[in-house]
Symmetry: C2
Subunit: 343 residues, 2 copies
């Protein structure tokens, strides 16, 4: 390639840069003009007591607005300015004028969306989470898996909501009691396997009972063994069926094993929960309050210990629901709507 | 009334108690028998490796089960036992047998629901909250009010979700920037009113500028005045229009003023939010992280100061959404489904 050619390419690149630079500024200025004019027209039409958005010298306003569009230091500033014009346009009484201005407003929003940086919008989606989120799966009809993990504070009716949901969706239902049962059966299976091995330990200095327990618990303390047995059961269940599971750190276990699910945390204001326990258990309010605080602390510690996450923090779940705002039946309907199973 | 008559009434009351007592125990025993028999039949049909739910001497099982139904010390125990039978029945391969057993299972659930204490279910609904919750209003088509309060952690795209939602629902959109603007205008209005009073202060030892500021701020410090002015604006807006409002403790202000709304808290894991800010602002991760922690702390303090509530705790909102699980577009769709406006 001759030097001449290189120079030509350089020039053309420079020209392109300059012209695209020039174009971007022109686009920004033209858009600013559209927004400014819409603001003037809307103000005239509404005769608003709130006044117009862009006040003072028109040229200065246009310069400021087009700089905002062109440089976009904070997308939200432009968004707020434009939203103000839109808010005002919506108050116009004359239907024809209103619909004309709202059309212009939507055109402006579309033009902004087409800008390279728009409102400076960057999505927050975490694909590693969202791809496991079954409530996103309505976009893909092939995958009908449905595992719902419900965590809940004491007295929030989370288990009642879970059970009612399982009943409506005809899904299996697993809670702490059922898991206890499943773990006992699993232990019995392991013991049976251990016995069937018929290893002769008489020549070793090992207590056979201890050896059996060691085999059953993978050498772990009983509590940890229970947790790991539950995790194993949960993974096995997820391979063969859909279900609803209450607590048991199931959300984290499933996430760590890349098993699609939706995690829901259910809670309610503490007074409301204490009142409910009081009614259910026929105990005084103070005792109900004490019990729920104690049980919640226990769950918090358990969750922290096995997952290193903070229990009940909204960012650890797909969704949190205040059951006092909805009640049991409506909370069930709400979850059905969220997971697109309300039809 | 003669003593005789009183005795007769006493006797009849006693008999009634006895007979209703007897009936309740009989009902409990018959129901226990149905559950026990369903368990046997399901076990036989499924040949489950997990074994049957009720093991050992049939009479003892029935006594235990009917006592559980009759006394219902903890509704959840009965629920778990029954759920286990249902879970097993759902694994039956033979479709005809499965549907027969599931019908029997549902009959049992219905019978339990008809018991005076059922599963010991007491609703968690707080009518003072739920009656203000617009997402419950689909049951009542007459009221089409729609005010949505969005609170959000920094970087969670909560404002983007709010703006996109406002655009989809054609609702006005109010954020901090717009509120600042509205407060300035409100101050200007108040100043104008103050001036129009034309009170002669020259004979008093009052600085007219101070007096003007006092009138504008109700004698409050500037920060508090801004908050109360915003509250006033919010109440005025709620009287005449539907809208989406970001932050500003709007959820608590509306609740305290008995104005129907739905409150949504949007957040995401901190790493995901920091990454997003990094991308948006073209700053290093560490700086993005610092900024979001600082801004969240500021919001937490503001919320605590003006509402005495803990910001971001799920029980303070109707709903919390993890935006990293859904992304902006899908979070908007999710909220539309929740408030029944997705059709």
């Amino acid at each position: 390639m001759s030097d001449n050619n290189i120079n030509n390419i350089d020039n053309s690149i420079n020209n392109e840069n300059k012209s695209s630079n020039y174009d971007a500024k022109t686009i920004a200025y033209n858009l600013a003009k559209k927004i400014y004019e819409l603001d003037s027209n809307v103000y005239e039409s509404v005769g608003s007591e709130l006044g117009r958005v862009f006040i003072g010298d028109a040229d200065k306003c246009l310069d400021k607005l087009s700089a905002l569009i062109y440089t976009n230091p904070h997308g939200y500033l432009l968004r707020s300015e434009v939203a103000l014009v839109g808010n005002m346009a919506r108050t116009i009484k004359d239907k024809e004028a209103k619909s004309k201005f709202m059309r212009q407003y939507n055109d402006i929003l579309n033009e902004i969306a087409e800008l390279p940086h728009g409102f400076g919008s960057v999505d927050i989606l975490d694909t590693s989470i969202s791809e496991l989120n079954v409530s996103n799966f309505h976009r893909n009809n092939n995958d009908n898996r449905m595992i719902i993990c419900i965590s809940r504070t004491e007295g929030s009716a989370g288990t009642d909501i879970g059970f009612a949901l399982a009943d409506k969706l005809r899904l299996n239902y697993y809670d702490a009691e059922i898991f206890k049962d499943l773990v006992i059966r699993k232990d019995a299976e392991k013991d049976a396997r251990w016995k069937s091995k018929k290893i002769d330990l008489s020549h070793e200095m090992i207590n056979p009972e201890k050896a059996r327990r060691f085999s059953r618990n993978h050498g772990l303390p009983a509590n940890d063994a229970a947790f790991f047995n539950e995790s194993e059961i949960l993974r096995e269940l997820a391979e063969k069926e859909d279900f609803i599971v209450i607590g048991r750190c199931a959300d984290v276990i499933l996430k760590n094993n890349n098993i699609p699910h939706v995690s829901v945390f259910i809670t309610a204001p503490v007074q409301q929960r204490a009142r409910r326990i009081m009614e259910l258990e026929k105990i005084p309010y103070s005792k109900a309050l004490k019990r729920l605080v104690k049980l919640d602390k226990k769950r918090e510690r358990y969750y922290k210990f096995y997952t290193n996450n903070i229990w009940g923090q909204a960012y650890n779940y797909d969704l949190c629901i205040n059951s006092a705002s909805y009640g049991i039946d409506e909370a069930v309907n709400l979850i059905l709507r969220v997971i697109n199973r309300d039809k």
